[in-house]
Amino acid sequence: MGRAKVFGVIALKGGVGKTTVVSNLGASLARDYGKKVLMIDANFSTPHLGLHLGLLNPKYTLHHVLNDNLSIFEAIYQHELGFHIIPGKLAPFQTAPLDLKNKLEELRDIYDVILIDSSPSLNEEMYATMAASDELLVVSSPDYPTLSSTIHAIRVADKREAKIHGIVINKAYKKKFELSKRDIEGASGSKVLSVIPENFRVLSSLSRMVPMIVNFPRQNVSLEYRRLAGLLVGEKTKRWFSKTKKVTKSKTKKKKTKKNATK
């Protein structure tokens, strides 16, 4: 276990799926790659990471840590799926978000990966995530309004000398009218790391407060999250894909042999 790499997950638009990306990547890093993962809800105004992971009314939150000088360790919760969370307060109060960076220093030696779920508002809340992160993942979706927010977010990050790791395109229907990976890369000047397809099961998982990769591990969305998680920590992800292929091949072989037998 070395010093944790801190990834800030940002978007300058609500509803693109930042929190879903954080919860699924975190769960995958912990379960599939055996990493020690901490997820932090730094969306101070509308903190919903807890609602994605079944942590409804935590006693201590990041708000308490930044406001009341509570030790950050008091606000860490162990999730049954193997990762840790620092939630936000659902009825939030004013905090000093920019202290987040200093508070995280204490945790860097404990974890492999720290994921920060950012606020979508361009204010101190987002600047706090930019300052506290080693690299940023920008969540986007393949439409013009979100592309505009993505370009803006990347410009702001550049100005604040925050490093962009890449873009995650979420909720892609893979239709012709949508912006392609190439369009988004060309317009933003950043690399697209992953295109996550739209799938109603994401909402089904949210209703159970369990990450998609746990609920439906072999769905296209989950496989893409698991691949992306591997990419973040520099590990190969081929095993799930190859297993799926082998199963389908052997099934078709069996079908053929059955047909031959009946003939």
Binding site: Y144, L147, I151, H152, R155, L179, A187
Partner: protein
């Protein structure tokens, strides 16, 4: 490439398909029928000879209604890929202008 301009009977002119499209959208019936009637289709001729777009010219040659000609030119110019490119460029310009 310099294209010979198309001069409409109402005094307006167009130097490319985009300009022609915007002129056609506001041209009156009298002017339109001066250029498109049973004997001739000036737009199709100009597109064929000056713009050198034979495909579009052939398509327009058969059309006698203003709306249909507008639609055909619009489809030819504003392909989804071109529209996408133009919108992305404008979004980028808007963000860069806002930042400066």
């Amino acid at each position: 490439m310099v294209i010979d301009r198309f001069y409409l009977s109402n005094g307006d002119s167009a130097g490319d398909l985009r300009e022609l499209l915007s002129r056609l959208r506001v041209v009156d019936e009298e002017c339109f029928s001066h250029h498109v009637n049973k004997k001739k289709n000036d737009f199709a001729n100009w597109i064929k000879k000056c713009v050198k777009d034979k495909v579009l010219a052939k398509k327009i040659e058969k059309l006698k209604s203003k709306e249909k000609i507008i639609l055909a030119i619009d489809k030819r110019i504003n392909t989804p890929a071109r529209v996408k490119k133009r919108i992305i460029r404008k979004i980028k310009e808007a963000i860069l202008d806002g930042a400066s």
